[in-house]
Symmetry: D3
Subunit: 239 residues, 6 copies
């Protein structure tokens, strides 16, 4: 079942978070009970080549592969999809302009400006139909998650969610805590930001889009879940 | 003979298209009858390191190495030249602004803003003269190909061709077919876009610049050739 | 002693310049008498993975690791810090806008917009305190050097130096010579630009910021030193 | 279906022959119509790491992975099995002593002396039963092919085939032609050695073991097949 | 403190067991509370290059690096020492001849036949004295552990321990269980082999040599410890 | 001109010595004035893959590539030739048996037992004739150097030189000094071994074979040269 289908069905999806750019690690993570594996290029050590190689065993395991790209690396967002990722998480989407640039890299025309070349993704998925059939489904089957992790992003969350091609939002609680404390502290469990975190999910639900969050403290899963979050990234290296 | 010289002489140049980022593959491709080898970083799996390593055996074989960079990765365009590429193909050059940014990364002052550091390219070419002699020739010897593959690009083709430092245009027929069908189909042999394809080459010829095209169906080479295309990229993985 | 502390104390710091992206080379360079090692991603062959791997042995040697990123690759500037670099050198910072974009990638709020995730840097430094303690110190302990190597940059040097988060300037004499000769020559020892080079350092000193320079001819170290330069990058491959 | 099962059923199995040590090539070969993929460490460029990484996508494709090890590298024969190979081809098995050493590395006690540690193979196969169940099946499910490619080997073929743990023989026609011409020529289609090639297969069939052969000229497949050969390796780089 | 010194002092040493050949994993393992890290080339995926690269961060962390080589790969035993390993574990040392071959690769003359070239090890240890001083200490500072994991080895344990240059024995309980059950089962906790395991340690203690063991079930540490074992390798991938 | 031709003509050949397994280093070394480049797998960090990749740029530069394999790794000697090396240096050839095993791996029948598969070497050399023509020349064009660096080897030097397929001897002065001082010192310039060093070369000259030596102190080149040595390996990392 595709990630989009699981999320559409209201299922909770728990993704492992990979920071070491070695395909054997990815192969190992894909064999754990996690529902998915996310390769982190922003704060983790993944790079152009490791994303290509690590998505192979993840896809072969039948689980969705996700990729978090570095800030503004929308060239890589499109490449991650070409390599077979089902979702891309873009950090620091702080404005409608950021969201549009991200969406344009992720979606084929007329929604966006993604360029054609998903041959590796097609091969890895076992697809052998006509290319236009793949094109017809691609925008629906791959997900663009915009990270909400600053005050500007919080203020613009409705507009960001309204951008065609943005499929969901994803909260980065460490950066969000830095933002909300004006750089004074980093505390991904900061109680005073819980209301804002709930608000973000509520706004996504209101427009039928997805909400995900990076989970530093597993005890919070239940609380985030009650807020409407469905995609949870767990790990111990990055936020 | 340099790529620019062959194209200036009106010769047809057939380039292999490499998607696997391994220098042994590049070494093998350079030993085939193809005239040149293009390393694809946009939809192929080439990356910063593979481009550096694969250009070595290509140059050693006496053939030109080309690199297609990802969308907007003009940092990599300049680096490809530093590693010894004779041409860079930039995808999705949809406006004069795109063309200028590309040209500026590719050409030394006063034409552009390329930064000095071509030591690997000099070494690989066997150059041992004074650095200023290399500088004097570099803008002429390396080629910037802007991909024309959207309606916007088609509309702006004359202005794009007029940008100083843009040496030619390169058609991506798969993306072009998506654009011209408003996202409904991908068909690199779409008959209804042949007139536009002919137009692009004609405009390039009119200003003494080059026209190249990605060839999905080898039977089209003759037809493209008659339109004035001289650089043909063949392969079976990307468009 | 941190690089910032050595420079603050007025010490001269000599950095080796690494162009080959292999961690064993970095390990070897770190064992030479050089005070620091700079990994060059602009004209050298370093890449995302090599920077991550090469900073390990450099940091383990007790010496600062520096990284020169490609033009406009501010995503990589932040990643270099996450991997443990003490300084990033950004080429072609030609305007206040360039300087601001660079500074924002390098500094945590409220100075900039750097995103949290320095786990590798913390581990490599041996840090084990609370994360907020690291956050509190990070902006001070890591240095952003803006390269001044064009006429525009020279004209804007005061404004660039005034940008919050820019810790110093770094002169690229080869590009500077191309700029000052309008593309006619490349000569990193060009006598006619010495006054401008002296001016750049003087302006930095005037505002209590650092000045560094790439040294092609070691005989110039004494002269640059007298101008106030304290960070010297030596090597034989790039400028 | 396992390779051993297909061969036991009398099926003909055609294996691609991989010489480039890149997992993306292996992934591509596994997607072709070939029944299996063999990674060549003797004359191809495969190495310890590439075998580990390339077996992943081959196994994921549902096809058997084979590995040809270098001469006398029985350490690697066992490792190839640990990584998930279904068969190992050992070159230059010229004596009973060679065959015994090979078999001992390939089979667990009491047949041989293979050491326990097939965790990667178990994971890649999806096995999750008790370890002793895997042990119980392993000697049967993995195949040891001894290459017969010298006069000594030809003379000893019955004794080699009689060694417990040797599952089959595999003819290297290029080396065999050099041997039979006393070093005067290399000709994998040498007519005068066809009788010996037929003899080798006949002796294998006589004791219920398998016969395979490297095929330089595909036209010979039919003829080899008539002799009883069932495993055919095709490729254009090695013999 | 060197591994030999800790063991000589009767300390218990717990070593992590690394199977993924990536230097970032090794760097991470070295940062855990484990006393040492062992890189497994026999059943793990480590190889010549990964051992060289992974020993760097392990040594930099101040902890001993150990390497388990594949069966009979004594060339690699010497190379592991050249790269800075403090101990090598050789599997399947089943006879005095095996032990002698192993010891000869590990010890400089007159004890063995190890060849000179420890430049990387010297550099990584911070050694800067005269080479002869290193030579004088090397045989004492690096440890050769012979794995005892078959009946033959058990029978020959006294003779193996008597070989000059063998510093200790190391039990592989999975293989040992296969051996003692004549290939019928693999059970690293097999009760019926505990007496033999105790015997091995007792014989080592009797001649002042070390005893180590691979620990599949951590609950057994206390029991092994009471038998005299001091080096414990823990992990979940290999035996 | 081939290495064998230069040595046959009595020329002195100076080879760089590479310890870092990165093809860009090899490319750089090949561009220095050295006559050849030797890749060291024994004490340097070269491995199976680096030898394959580094020989490419060395051969492309028109210079001979040499490889020193680890002790007893004759599988790798043959592979180095398959990758295009012109000579292999085998360490610790201490007996006629060692010399024979080495020669057999290096020479095609009837001299030795080398297996056919030099496709990469043929491609890299530009050879396009019939395979039998290559076979006919190969034994003559590639050189086997046996290292003489122990007392046993010194005593057996005439017999070693008499082995068919051994093309020369190569002295390792550091190990030789350890051997001659019974493990008490390592001193590659040890005066008391000069007579033995001269003897080795004299014996080689007496039978028309080559003599090479590792040079730690360049001042000794003249002296070694006077003794008849013609192949000199220089470097600062290994002996
Ligand atoms: Mg964040
Ligand atoms: Mg396109
Ligand atoms: Mg510059
Ligand atoms: Mg053969
Ligand atoms: Mg074992
Ligand atoms: Mg030696």
């Amino acid at each position: 079942m595709l990630l989009t289908e699981r999320l559409m069905a209201g299922e909770r999806v728990f993704s492992a978070w990979s920071s070491v750019p070695d395909s054997l690690n990815a192969e190992g993570l894909a064999a754990t009970p996690f529902d998915a594996v996310c390769l982190d290029m922003q704060h983790g050590a993944h790079h152009e080549d490791s994303v290509m190689r690590c998505l192979g065993p993840i896809i072969a395991s039948g689980k969705p592969g996700l990729v978090r790209v570095p800030v503004d690396r929308f060239d890589m967002a499109a490449r991650a999809l070409d390599f077979g990722a089902q979702a891309v998480i873009a950090p620091m989407v702080n404005s409608v302009a950021d969201a549009r640039a991200f969406a344009q890299s992720m979606k084929y025309p007329p929604v966006g400006k993604r360029s054609w070349g998903p041959h590796l993704a097609m091969g890895r998925s076992g697809f052998s139909g006509p290319q236009s059939a793949w094109l017809d489904e691609a925008n629906r089957k791959t997900l663009a998650f915009a990270m909400i992790e600053t005050r500007e992003a919080l203020d613009a969350v409705d507009e960001i969610l309204a951008v065609a091609g943005i499929d969901g939002v994803f909260v980065g609680p460490s950066d969000f805590s830095i933002a909300l404390t004006d750089g004074k502290a980093v505390d991904p469990s900061l109680e005073s930001m819980m209301e804002a975190i709930a608000h973000i999910s509520a706004r996504a639900q209101a427009v039928g889009k997805h909400a995900g969050i990076y989970v530093v403290d597993p005890k919070l899963v239940q609380r985030y879940s009650a807020m409407g979050y469905r995609l949870f990234a767990l790990g111990n290296e990055q936020n």
